[in-house]
């Protein structure tokens, strides 16, 4: 099977959403998954030698939402997760949530843009590019908050690591989506 046929098969995911009730149920389930994965990840030890980076496990739910329920649900899952995890960890009013929110906006924005090209980009591509955008936005906001452009020197190596982690997350999301019931 050629790579283009593989990509078409991979993206030929039947949208689960056929009505507003179904959309709300799928969105809520994926939002719950994103929150659990986000909280689970926050309890894992840091990724040395870059302890400021995260695996991005919660993005599995966002990529899956984009694949099976569309852009609107993906945005709700991404932003809802930032709000709920911030609320649960007590960091909602602090700079950490502001940085996480900026990363989520950039990430889901880039992924929605790539999804709009149809079958040209796969879930791996969405996730890898979204992960890189997430890191770049976070460093940008952190540099503004801390008034230090020195922080941006960490961005290029972090983006390279984020590309690999994002592709891994995309692979996991593709596996999850392939096992979802079509009806």
């Amino acid at each position: 099977m050629s790579s283009s046929m593989l990509a078409s098969a991979e993206l030929a995911v039947p949208r689960l959403v056929v009505g507003s009730t179904r959309r709300a149920a799928v969105g809520a389930a994926l939002l719950a998954c994103a929150c659990v994965l986000g909280l689970l990840e926050s309890s894992l030890p840091p990724l040395l030698p870059a302890p400021w980076l995260r695996l991005g496990l919660a993005n599995i739910a966002v990529v899956a939402a984009l694949a099976v329920a569309g852009r609107r649900t993906a945005v709700i899952v991404a932003m809802g997760r930032v709000f709920l995890v911030g609320l649960a960890t007590g960091t909602l009013a602090g700079p950490v949530t502001l940085i996480a929110g900026a990363g989520a906006v950039a990430s889901v924005g880039v992924m929605c843009l790539l999804e709009s090209f149809g079958t040209r980009y796969s879930m791996l591509g969405w996730s890898a590019a979204g992960s890189a955008a997430h890191v770049l936005a976070q460093f940008g906001v952190a540099a503004v908050l801390l008034r230090s452009s020195a922080l941006l020197s960490l961005a290029p190596p972090s983006i390279l690591i984020a590309l690999c982690l994002g592709a891994g997350v995309g692979l996991l999301a593709r596996t999850v989506v392939s096992r979802l019931p079509s009806r």
Binding site: P51, T89, G94, S122, L146, L152, S153, L160
Partner: protein
């Protein structure tokens, strides 16, 4: 992964690789000192003198230690302690950030900020 995916990822990776040395150079003007920037102002610590100083942040105090030409945050009141886990830095342009406290510690890279104090 589609061909477009591979091109996209390669493009981002090349852009990051090209930006890497530029970002490091921009952040390192003077590699002889550690620059500590925070809510209380900006100060410099010479790297050739071992010392430990307390730095006030938004949440409380951090302890920053200069030792054998490197600098690290050895204690912080922040929730996740990412700054402590980052460990010691010594290369020009390297940086440790404690976002909850609003404090950065970098090697050189005065960042065009006028210094409030020089610590000896």
């Amino acid at each position: 992964m589609t061909r477009a995916d591979r091109l996209l990822v390669a493009g981002i990776a090349i852009a990051a690789l090209l930006a890497w040395p530029l970002a490091a150079v921009a952040a390192s003007n003077d590699a002889q000192s550690a620059v500590i920037a925070g809510p209380a102002g900006t100060s410099m610590l010479p790297l050739d003198t071992d010392t430990t100083v307390a730095v006030e942040g938004h949440l409380g105090s951090l302890r920053v230690r200069v030792e054998h030409g490197s600098v690290r945050v050895v204690g912080s009141c922040c929730p996740n302690h990412v700054c402590v886990k980052t460990g010691a830095i010594r290369a020009p342009g390297s940086v440790v950030a404690c976002v909850p406290n609003g404090v950065t510690v970098s090697i050189g890279g005065s960042d065009d900020v006028e210094l409030d104090a020089r610590i000896r």
